[in-house]
């Protein structure tokens, strides 16, 4: 069966409401016809009232996409995707289609929310309950937005940025992830619907963590999300994506693109907690999370740090990467990936050292349980120009149970003798001694695994912003529930 048909069959028809803010359009239809063609691309662009150059860019991407083979190198397996059996644009559901209250929401989901300690109001938002909570969050967001605006910070939806700041979008869109980069990113370039846009002006330190969480139009941008963050000279921003609560989405294929640009002395910290629906115990119906994330350290002394906690999705395919162009620039990648049941993850990073004295650090912690497979795949490339470059990589894998697999595939390419590159990897399991010791102190087997795994992941967890870290810790425990018997 084609992968998207079962989930997409559920997509409800036209809504009367459309976007809650943004732009007005006189196009009546709220959804494209099924399938992908130039017309689909034109429809999306027109529906979003985009300038001609953006339509042309999308079309270029679409035409190129037609010629591209599916990427084959990742260690994941799934049936071929039927791209024609999918809707590429649909306005959000109207309130009348949403659950009226939490009583109508899957109790299993609510149980998980409770375990994570998520406040009721937020539970309603996450479960998509049609209540005033959404409007509360609008007002909260508006307040923040005003404060940020006073500092010259732009934080808005991608669609809004296209309308309000076309010169910035045009300058930077596709400058880090070109439209022809890879099959998934190219598809995104052709049909992306919305996402976030951030611009931090020169010398400004963004005073709060920017989060998609309270962004009002976060709804229904999940499938082909496009994020662009520009940190101008001397600025700083910390951006949080996703949340620990299991997120539901009716689209099975997710192909997001995130582009980061850091100019001289700028720093971007990008943290992700990904907990999309992983499918049932056999992996049926889970999200395919095929994401292209890349940051360019263009300026001298610039820094980009990726932190990710990946626990969801049936298949995760993502390699948040750094192009270290500016001299002395720094790239960091901290990752915890947990796969249980039938989940598959092929994730890692690329650190491309171009500038002099560029530094990169990679800390990857992979945990595989059940019948899951997990691969760390990472490239460290030192170009001949990268005098004095440094890389340190540590990849540790933990296996829970004898039906899972953990794999480490680093590519280390050095073209400069003054560079120093170090890579270490280990694979082990939770020892019986450790489990028994914890249980002798009163912890249940599941609590014991959670404690031990959190310890194993500590180096990564401590790079998360405080508010994220506590929830992420709980999430690790929850993700592994049922993994030890």
């Amino acid at each position: 069966m084609a992968v998207t048909s079962e989930t997409l069959a559920q997509v409800k028809s036209v809504t009367e409401d459309g976007y809650k803010h943004g732009f007005v359009t006189d196009i009546e239809m709220e959804r494209t016809a099924k399938g992908l063609s130039e017309d689909t691309v034109r429809f999306i662009s027109a529906r979003k009232n985009e300038p001609e150059w953006l339509l042309e860019w999308r079309l270029k991407a679409y035409r190129h996409w037609l010629t591209m083979p599916e990427p084959q190198w990742a260690k994941v397996s799934f049936p071929p995707i039927d791209y024609q059996d999918s809707y590429y644009f649909a306005a959000p559901k109207s309130d009348s289609d949403k659950p009226k209250s939490l009583d109508e929401v899957d109790p299993k989901l609510l149980e998980t929310y409770a375990k994570l300690g998520i406040p009721l109001l937020e539970q309603e938002m996450l479960a998509g309950v049609a209540v005033d909570a959404v409007f509360d969050s609008v007002s909260v967001a508006t307040t923040y937005k005003k404060k940020l605006g006073e500092m010259g910070i732009i934080f808005c939806s991608f669609s809004e940025a296209v309308q309000e700041h076309p010169e910035l979008v045009r300058q930077y869109l596709g400058s880090v992830v070109p439209y022809a980069d890879n099959k998934h990113a190219t598809l995104n370039s052709a049909v992306f619907t919305d996402g976030s846009f951030v611009y931090i002006p020169k010398g400004v330190r963004c005073p709060m963590e920017l989060s998609t969480y309270f962004r009002i139009n976060a709804e229904n941008t999940g499938q082909f999300e496009r994020t662009l963050i520009i940190a101008d000279a001397g600025s700083y921003v910390s951006y949080l994506e996703g949340c620990t609560a299991p997120q539901r989405d009716e689209h099975q294929l997710h192909a997001a693109v995130v582009e980061l640009i850091a100019l001289d002395d700028a720093e971007i910290k990008y943290s992700t907690v990904q907990n999309w629906y992983p499918g049932d115990e056999e992996g049926r119906g889970g999200i395919y999370n095929f994401v292209t994330k890349r940051g360019a350290c263009r300026g001298r002394n610039s820094k980009i740090a990726w932190t990710q906690v990946e626990t969801g999705s049936a298949i995760t395919w993502k390699y948040p990467s750094c192009l270290l162009i500016g001299d002395n620039s720094v790239g960091e990648f901290y990752s915890v990936a947990i796969t249980a049941n039938r989940q598959q993850a092929d994730t890692g990073t690329k650190m491309i050292h171009i500038g002099r004295n560029t530094t990169s650090t990679i800390i990857s912690k992979g945990i595989a349980a059940g019948r899951a497979d997990q691969t760390y795949r990472g490239q460290v490339k030192i170009m001949a120009s990268a005098e004095g470059a440094r890389n340190f990589t540590q990849c540790d894998s933990l296996l829970i149970g004898d039906q899972c697999g953990a794999h480490t595939v680093p590519y280390i390419e050095t073209h400069n003798p003054t560079a120093r590159v170090e890579h270490e990897a280990t694979t082990s399991r939770i020892s019986d001694d450790q489990l028994f010791y914890c249980m002798q102190r009163g912890l249940s087997a599941e609590e014991a695994v959670s404690v031990i795994v959190n310890g194993f992941c500590k180096e990564v967890m401590r790079t998360l912003p405080m508010e994220f870290a506590v929830e992420a810790q709980k999430l690790i425990g929850i993700s592994l529930e049922g993994s030890v018997g």
């Binding site: 190198w73 890579h423 399991r429």
Partner: protein, 427 residues
């Protein structure tokens, strides 16, 4: 898509025993199907064979052994048995195989009754994963045959000397070696690959070790500056067998040495090596350690030094299959880059399906440690000398992995010579 290229497949297949004919036919089809590997193939990502295609190598003649003297550069092994091959053909005149111990047979593969080869030849190596190894199977003509009966002991090392020799015309050939050790048998095999002229040797070695057998296997690849050396070895280790392998590569213009080992229960496997590159050399070491059964240990250390514009490649994969619980697998790759223009591509890989294992790998690339250099200089040692000392120490560490004393000393001598030449050129 890039076109598929299948050079070197123009020779007629030699007819022989029906099973060999079938083997050759399948192998040729396999080669034609895959073609000469390109960078699109993951296994050949870092080693480009296009230069090989541009040279008009002549196939070796169907009969007879070409004449060539043993050149300099072989491992110095006094008192060893000797099996000499010129362009893959057994050279009885230069070989020394008198008075072999009981239960030991060593000689030319071409001279062995095909019925005796049937259980082994083409049955050990997965040549379908390596197009050029398949090509070897299609056109193999001769090579080493070494068989030890159960409990047999080879009392001195066997020195396999492979001479790749070309005059006016570039030469290609496909040596095929077979090593069979019965239960509890013990042997040391040292290979020296040397030569002159523009040659393309495409070697396959298959080794089968019985229960509790022990093989020391050391290979020196020291071919001529215009040589292309492609080698594929597969070693199958039965329960409780042990293997001490070392590959020192310093010769050839382009070399790829691929070793695959398959481990039974309670096997001790050591798979080590060193590579020394200068000029425009390209040296590739690719290894695959396949843990198929529980309780085995593998250790792998590859160290290299690259100078001028030399390029090194290390691809080391450890596979731990589902049943291989209690596996211990360790892998280390270290490279020193001595000059601008060098390049090192390292891909140490773990693929693990069993949970009760201890596996790890490490890889480093870079210059000499500044701290160590400073320490030596602070003791009054001049910079150039201090560097030479540290490089020498780095390589001695690698060679020290060789368990057998005489081959270790012989390989150390080759390393020392290479170092002397490096030092001389930097003066």
């Amino acid at each position: 898509m890039a076109r598929k290229s299948t050079p070197f497949a123009d020779e007629a297949l030699v007819a022989g025993a029906p099973w060999i004919d079938a083997l050759r036919g399948d192998a040729l089809a396999c080669y034609r199907e895959q073609g000469l590997p390109t960078a699109r193939s993951e296994a050949w990502k870092f080693t480009n064979l296009r230069r090989l295609e541009r040279i008009a190598f002549a196939p070796s003649p169907a009969k007879g052994t070409p004449v060539a003297e043993i050149p300099d550069g072989i491992a110095a092994l006094d008192g060893a048995y000797r099996a000499v091959f010129v362009n893959g053909r057994f050279d009885a005149a230069q070989s020394r195989l008198g008075d072999l111990p009981k239960g030991v047979e060593i000689g030319s593969l071409a001279a062995v009754d095909p019925d005796l080869l049937e259980p082994y030849l083409g049955r050990i190596a997965d040549t379908q994963v390596h197009p050029l190894a398949a090509l070897n199977t299609a056109y193999m003509a001769d090579g080493l045959y070494m068989k030890l009966a159960d409990n047999a002991v080879l009392d001195a090392p066997l020195h396999l000397i492979s001479i790749a020799s070309a005059g006016e015309t570039a030469q290609r050939f496909h040596p095929r070696h077979l090593v069979v050790l019965g239960e509890n048998a013990t042997a040391t095999l040292v290979e020296s690959h040397v030569g002159a002229g523009e040659t393309f040797s495409n070697t396959v070695l298959e080794a089968d070790l019985g229960v509790s057998a022990m093989l020391n296997h050391y290979k020196l690849q020291n071919e001529a500056p215009d040589a292309f050396h492609i080698a594929f070895s597969q070693i199958r280790l039965a329960d409780r067998a042990s293997y001490d392998g070392f590959v020192l590569q310093t010769g050839a213009r382009l070399a790829r040495n691929e070793v695959r080992v398959q481990l039974g229960d309670r096997v001790e496997c050591r798979l080590n090596g060193a590579y020394l590159g200068r000029g425009d050399q390209h040296i590739d070491n690719t290894t695959f350690i396949d843990h198929t059964a529980p309780n085995s240990t593998s250790r792998e250390v590859y160290k290299g030094v690259l100078d001028d514009r030399a390029r090194g490649v290390f691809q080391g994969k450890i596979l731990v299959r589902k049943d291989a619980q209690k596996t211990n697998g360790h892998q280390l790759n270290k490279t020193l880059l001595l000059s601008r223009g060098t390049e090192m591509d390292s891909k140490p890989e773990l693929e693990i399906y069993a949970d009760d294992v201890k596996c790890g790998h490490g890889a480093t690339t870079g210059e000499l440690e500044e701290d160590a250099l400073f320490y030596l200089r602070a003791r009054g040692i001049a910079s150039a000398e201090a560097r030479a000392m540290l490089v020498a120490a780095f390589l001695s560490d690698a060679v020290a992995e060789i368990q057998a004393e005489q081959p270790r000393a012989a390989f150390q001598a080759v390393v020392d010579q290479w170092l002397d030449a490096t030092e001389a050129s930097t003066r």
